[in-house]
Amino acid sequence: MSMEFLDGNTILYSAAFGLMLIGIGGIVISNHLMRIIFGIALLEAGANLLLLLSTYHEGASAPIIVDGIIPAMMADPVPQALVLTAIVIGVGILALALSLAIRVQRAYGTLDMREVRLRLEQEICDEAGIEMPSSSEKPAEVIKTPVNSVVQQESGS
């Protein structure tokens, strides 16, 4: 079997797309807040690689002049500068996400997003003085609030 379909570009692009897919998968499937942050970091890494690959030419040299010799073809410096800034901003976002995760743990005692969402809805319902819907996963079978409160809501809005 020939390996011709595996040229350099395909390998590099598959790395970028693979990282992005795994990151999105982690964000979508996982329930743990820490895994979601890991997924964001992976997604960001893949996006950075894709941005750099968008102007990559085989045979180009790095955009730096050494000893006054100017190479015939140099890599594009604009996406490189973009990715440089993106990585640094990424670490800022990461630090912010991690400190928010620490705050979530302090407030709710858990990092499982299903539990956090449940507690959040409970708090909102308590504040509003209404009863919590029986389940957020499946549609409520019976509307538990009395009919007149629904009428009130409609007339109020």
Partner: protein, 228 residues
């Protein structure tokens, strides 16, 4: 059920990306901006590293905004984490090897960080990379001696001065009749340490600002109260 739908979504996304990839054109991917910058950057900015000239000269305002984003993230991180309670339990003391190693590494990390910052216009490297190394140099003593702490007031003063230097150089260029943050001073000889006009000064400001911001952020995270 949720996992199944998520897996289905991912497979669909993968197929879509593969389909797009098959029709991508690899023969003509160069941006015109990059070609233009590569041909004139050495004469216009005097920096041998073209990425540096893009970061500081052609897209200097972007770098300024990026520093603002980093500053905001560090500030909000500090605000969210809050101050440590006085009676919070201390971490156990570090061992002899970690303390001695930290003392030995501190000057080396400072030298390497400053070297990378000051050679940013000649070789790969610059303010961001060197700044991270400076931040880790100032964070090491915190790991080795859990009781000690970084003075956050000094950090904010250093950070403010570095940011002000960056903006002042930009305004200086405006007062000379150029655009904001355009390169100033004598270009010098290409490849010499003192060359490229104001770019090394700008990168030094960036490095000190990034270093102090990240050191402050790391200190905040390290001092946050442990759960267990």
């Amino acid at each position: 059920m949720r996992r199944f739908t998520a897996a289905l979504f991912l497979i669909g996304l993968g197929v879509m990306i593969a389909a797009i990839y098959q029709h991508m054109d690899f023969s003509n991917t160069a941006l015109n901006a990059g070609q233009a910058i590569n041909s004139v950057a050495a004469q216009e900015t005097g920096a041998a590293n073209f990425v540096t000239s893009v970061v500081l000269a052609y897209r200097g305002i972007d770098t300024l905004l990026e520093l603002t984003i980093l500053f905001t993230a560090a500030m909000i991180g500090g605000m969210v984490l809050g101050k440590r309670r006085v009676d919070a339990p201390r971490d156990p003391d570090a061992g002899f090897i970690l303390r001695t190693g930290a003392d030995l590494l501190f000057p080396l990390l400072l030298v390497v960080g400053l070297y990378i910052i000051l050679h940013g216009h000649l070789t790969p490297g610059g303010g961001f990379q060197g700044g991270v190394i400076l931040a880790s140099a100032f964070f090491l003593p915190l790991l080795a001696r859990p009781g000690s702490s970084i003075n956050q007031d000094v950090i904010s003063i250093v950070e403010g001065l570095a940011g002000a230097t960056f903006i002042l150089i930009g305004l200086l260029a405006m007062s000379e009749g150029y655009e904001f943050l355009s390169p100033l001073f004598d270009k010098g000889e290409l490849g010499a340490l003192i060359s490229a006009g104001s770019l090394p000064v700008l990168y030094l400001a960036v490095g000190i600002k990034v270093g102090s911001e990240l050191a402050g952020l790391l200190a905040h995270l390290a001092e946050a109260e442990a759960v267990d």
